[in-house]
């Protein structure tokens, strides 16, 4: 048979015209996501919650907030929801903004609605910052382990770090001279190493100081193992109980005790991505390490991490509520839903709304985060997508 020439251009055009309408990845994701009605409800409430939290922080902060969550009106304590204030007993400044106690008042006569508004923001901040820390640490650790994992830490690295940290300690203890000498020696050594490396293109491995001690991957994965050895809630509790209670400490502690999953995931993802052709191609083209990581690998690895972060926020809000129950939550003056709830539980017979309003609010928001995250995860899972 002879080689027949087909009018290729025509066919291509014809085929393209016929094939599925072009959709962006996001479009497709949205289309898939939209099918899951629960997830859509989750998203809607998620957005509402974000709006509430943002408006909450605007409306409840400042010198004269629209809703004052700290306004104490003792004579108006423990009023049920939808009660009108006794206007005669109040000074004009004390009258609630809405003219009604939408969610009732607490044991000090503070407007629960204002407190919930403020709490929304604080709870959200706790969730976001804690998860943000955990994602950052996790991605960083996992990325390094996955990408540079095969590289070794040599004895001279360890020595340099030891000298530097000894210098820092000396400086801290007031032995300026010794400390400065140590620091200087450390820096000079590091600089020389880096210089030599850039000159020769690669580190030459000679002598005992350049002996490979342990690989980066091992170091990081052992760190993950060590962290996983602590029962997480117990660890959080220990640290929160021992360090002074503050909102920031709680966020940091929750964040620093939950990065291990992310790190493992990112590492695995990087390990498999590193072997893939497009990375090899990029490397062959002489693209720098960091460009490869951030331009090529990170986008692939980070989307699923973000999904689990959504669920992580929900967990962080719950953790904070649990800590509040045990008396270690975010301390006043910040109201969080968790501490409104645990403060209210003593009044469960006399003022049930103090327990139920924050309880149900936490329930709904956490539920929505979870449903939203799950929906997103489903939509992004290529395996399920093919069959769906």
């Amino acid at each position: 048979m002879r080689n027949t020439q087909y009018p290729i251009t025509d066919t291509q055009q014809a085929l393209e015209a016929l094939s599925a309408p072009k959709k962006t990845r996001l479009h497709e994701l949205w289309a898939l996501f939209r099918e899951n009605r629960l997830a859509v409800i989750g998203l809607v409430i998620f957005v509402l919650f974000l709006l509430t939290a943002v408006s909450g922080v605007i409306l409840t902060s400042g010198q004269n907030p629209v809703f004052d969550p700290a306004m104490v009106r003792l004579q108006e304590k423990l009023l049920p929801p939808f009660t009108r204030p006794h206007l005669k007993a109040l000074q004009p400044a004390q009258v609630p903004t809405l003219g009604i106690y939408l969610f009732g008042t607490d044991n000090l006569g503070r407007d629960v609605f204002s407190r919930m508004l403020q709490g929304a923001w604080v709870s959200l901040t706790v969730g976001f910052v804690a998860v943000g820390i955990s994602v950052l640490v996790g991605v960083f650790m996992g990325g390094i382990a996955g990408y540079f994992g095969h590289e070794s830490i040599c004895l001279d690295h360890i020595l340099a770090i030891l000298v530097l940290s000894a210098g820092a300690i000396f400086l801290f203890m007031g032995w300026i001279g010794t400390g400065a000498a140590c620091m200087a020696a450390g820096f000079i050594y590091t600089a020389v190493c880096l210089f030599a490396r850039t000159r020769t293109g690669q580190a030459q491995r000679r002598g005992i100081f350049r002996m490979r001690a342990i690989s980066v991957d091992t170091v990081i994965m052992r760190m993950v193992d060590i962290m996983l050895c602590f029962p997480s809630f117990f660890l959080i509790l220990t640290v929160v109980a021992l360090v002074p209670a503050s909102m920031y400490n709680i966020m940091i502690v929750i964040g620093l005790t939950s990065w291990m999953g992310t790190a493992r995931f990112v590492r695995a993802e990087f390990l498999s991505l590193r072997e893939q052709d497009f990375v090899t191609a990029a490397k062959a083209l002489g693209v720098g390490n960091f460009r490869i990581i951030f331009r090529h690998m990170m986008p692939n690895a980070v989307a699923p991490v973000l999904v689990s972060a959504t669920i992580g926020i929900a967990t962080a809000i719950l953790t904070e509520a649990g800590l509040s129950f045990l008396g270690f939550g975010v301390p006043p003056p910040h109201a969080t839903w968790g501490n409104i709830l645990s403060d209210g539980k003593g009044f469960i017979f006399d003022a049930p709304w103090l327990t139920f309003i924050p309880g149900v609010a936490i329930l709904i928001v956490v539920l929505c985060f979870n449903l939203f995250g799950e929906g997103l995860r489903d939509a992004m899972n290529p395996k399920l997508r093919e069959r769906g």
Binding site: L74, A245, G327, P332, G346, F349
Partner: protein
């Protein structure tokens, strides 16, 4: 498919098994009606577990609650808060006083007199006392006996630490050639003895006594140090109060041994033994000697006047035969520990105490319950209840739930619940004033709190009655000073600070603080601002924090608030005196000893006068109260001190809380009348609000009792 069936059936069976147990569980009613034994048990909750049941070691409230039932002290307080003998049947208090003959000081109308001369002189003065001023006459009247102690020689070894601390300790022998000394026995303790005697013996008879010539150090030390040692070794005058206890002959420990004076002395020694690390050391530090006169008589001599002394003997008495050296060594050998380092702290006695109280120890399951059973050999007759159970339930709401379901007989009510529970026909309520007060303390070392006008203004700005009615739901009482409201020491005539925000602004203006255009108080361009702190975990304090902040904002003071975790609060802020103002509470004893909290010598870091109250007059009164054994005089001093503190307002005294306890209404007092008839009475609290005073006579009935009107 087997796997599937297993996975579904297994949990179903487990659930069914779990749920069917409901049919077996007794309801509130069934617990008492079908179960007569339940009526002989008293079950009470506690938020925390006990630490140790050894009364000389433990220091928390749960432990002492149990200890008060298992152990018995020499005495306690009755309904009127007077001392009442328990293990001790009765006691005598008198004084032995000493002074060194100061042959270098002239006695008015007698010139320089030696020892026998002084004795003679006082004896004579006593005989013709009529011409003397009344106080001196009164003093002399109390002196029963005067004895002359001849000069004596002795020597002691003093250890001298080098100042830098890194050289070995130097041992220095100090030789003393004590001059003659006069010993007087007084029928009643008199802290003014020497003041009054000096009117007889000359103003500077005592003050001019120089002990230095009588001591010699070998090897010699510098003069200053020697003078200090001499002052310690040869005190010019000395009060030695003496308490003689007469014990009951029929008091037995739970293991059957008779309690004797030896046991009491052993208890004292155990407290003082450094190895035991007893927190009660400071109570007994003033004790000089404890002598066993005979098995039922005990003589305790104190180094100095110390009026709270009697109350300290309310501590539970330990059985010597179980805890002495030999017993401990035996136990250590049994446990395979080193007998030389084994102390009472490691002994099993800690968790299996044996005392002589109305209940004897039975079982203790950590964090679950402590079980006591009644002691049939109790000297006052055994209690009605057969068992006493303390359950440890760390959560108040669950305690409440358990109370409703009938497995607790009492419940410590929170203020906001009082109203609701008082109405419930199943329960009876008791309330009383507690011994703790809450206050806002100011750091008097810092401006602006060094100005009494500012402190007054701060106090006046706060509506305490408001706090009491709204935060405490009327479960509190306003106070004006640091004494227990229930006692005579508290002066009820002192008016509280009025709630007067305008007056407060006035006062601040006087102190130089003026409102600026933003409405904040300002002086020399500086805004009046500070931080008010308290510890976490106490809702009421948190509420006060919020209220104070709000109230002070009204008069133009910018207050930030901070709630800190307890240990941080204490160790970082209070102990290091790093605070502006704080909300805190003190638990008072009945004894009016305010030395540690208000004396100016206690204002250093880690001491309890952290507000930094310093007032010479107050110091003097505090010492006087400490040394006064006469109740009426003590009361008078206390009232004076109270007035002084109220004037100075070193802190804003807020309130003493009231507690309310609910009991099952079926619990009553069962008593035998003299004619042998059984009598059931409603439980009534004593004057001080103590409803458990007659606890040994309580019993639970199966049915709700009906009392006839009396």
């Amino acid at each position: 498919m087997v796997t599937k069936r297993f996975l579904i059936l297994m949990p179903m069976l487990v659930m069914v098994f779990l749920f069917q147990s409901y049919l077996w569980v007794p309801t509130y009613e069934e617990q008492t009606t079908g179960n007569p034994d339940r009526l002989y048990q008293y079950i009470t909750p506690s938020l925390g577990d006990a630490t140790s049941l050894n009364p000389i070691i433990s220091s928390n409230s749960t432990s002492s609650q149990i200890e008060s039932l298992v152990f018995e002290g020499l005495l306690d307080r009755d309904e009127e808060l007077r001392f009442r003998g328990r293990v001790a049947r009765s006691w005598d208090i008198f004084e032995e006083a000493y002074f060194y003959v100061n042959s270098g000081a002239p006695v008015p109308a007698a010139g320089f007199v030696d020892g026998p001369g002084i004795v003679q002189f006082i004896e004579t003065a006593k005989k013709k006392a009529d011409s003397l001023p009344p106080e001196v006459r009164e003093t002399l009247r109390r002196i029963q006996k005067i004895v002359l102690i001849p000069p004596e020689e002795r020597s002691v070894v003093k250890a001298l630490k080098s100042p830098s601390g890194n050289q070995p300790v130097r041992k220095i022998r100090v030789h003393i050639q004590a001059p003659a000394r006069i010993k007087m026995t007084l029928a009643e303790i008199n802290q003014d003895l020497f003041t009054n005697l000096s009117r007889l013996l000359g103003e500077d008879y005592f003050t001019s006594f120089d002990p230095v010539p009588f001591v010699r150090a070998d090897p010699s030390v510098d003069r200053q140090l020697l003078a200090r040692w001499a002052g310690e070794l040869l005190p010019v005058t000395e009060h030695n109060p003496v308490i003689v206890f007469h014990l009951r002959p029929d008091v037995r420990f739970h293991d059957g041994r008779i309690l004797t004076a030896e046991d009491v002395r052993f208890t004292y020694q155990a407290v003082m033994d450094p190895a035991n690390l007893s927190p009660r050391v400071s109570d007994y530090e003033p004790v000089k000697t404890v002598e066993v006169v005979d098995p039922l008589t005990l003589r305790i001599v104190y180094k100095r006047l110390y009026s709270p002394a009697l109350a300290t003997w309310g501590m539970g008495i330990l059985p010597k035969h179980l805890l002495n050296r030999e017993a401990l060594r035996k136990e250590a050998r049994m446990l395979g520990r080193d007998p030389d380092t084994f102390t009472m702290r490691q002994s099993r006695f800690d968790r299996h105490p044996v005392g002589c109280g109305p209940f004897q120890f039975d079982r203790w399951e950590s964090d679950q319950f402590i079980l006591l059973k009644r002691f049939n050999g109790y000297w006052e007759g055994p209690p009605n209840y057969h068992r006493y159970v303390m359950r440890i339930i760390p959560d108040l709401l669950t305690q409440e739930m358990e109370f409703y379901s009938g497995t607790l007989d009492s419940y410590q009510v929170q203020p906001h619940q009082v109203k609701r529970l008082e109405k419930d026909p199943r329960f009876q309520c008791f309330s009383g004033t507690s011994f703790g007060y809450t206050y806002i303390g100011y750091n008097l070392r810092r401006a602006p709190f060094d100005d009494v006008r500012v402190r007054r203004a701060l106090g006046m700005a706060i509506n305490v009655d408001h706090i009491i009615s709204y935060v405490l739901y009327h479960q509190g009482e306003r106070i004006t000073g640091p004494f227990a409201v229930q006692t005579d020491y508290y002066d009820h005539r002192i008016p509280p600070l009025p709630y007067d925000p305008e007056g407060a602004v006035e006062l601040l203006n006087q102190a130089g603080w003026k409102r600026n255009e933003d409405g904040w108080m300002e002086k020399d361009g500086k805004r009046l601002e500070f931080t008010l702190i308290t510890n976490s975990g106490n809702d009421i304090r948190k509420a006060i924090l919020a209220i104070a902040q709000d109230a002070w904002k009204q008069i133009g003071i910018d207050v930030r608030t901070d709630v800190l975790e307890w240990s941080v609060f204490i160790q970082e802020r209070v102990n290091k005196l790093d605070f502006d103002a704080l909300v805190l509470g003190w638990v008072m004893g009945i004894e009016p000893d305010l030395y540690q909290i208000w004396h100016s010598s206690q204002t250093h870091p880690h001491q309890l006068n952290f507000v930094g109250f310093q007032n010479l007059k107050a110091d003097e009164l505090i010492i006087k109260i400490r040394q006064e054994y006469d109740h009426a005089k003590q009361v008078a001093y206390c009232h004076e001190l109270h007035r002084l503190i109220a004037q100075e307002q070193p802190c804003t005294f807020l309130y003493v809380g009231k507690w309310t306890a609910v009991l099952d209404r079926r619990i009553v007092i069962k008593d035998l009348e003299q004619n042998g008839l059984m009598l059931y009475k409603k439980i009534t609290p004593t004057k001080t609000g103590d409803y458990t005073f007659h606890f040994n006579k309580w019993i639970k009935l199966a049915e709700m009792p009906q009392f006839s009107e009396e």
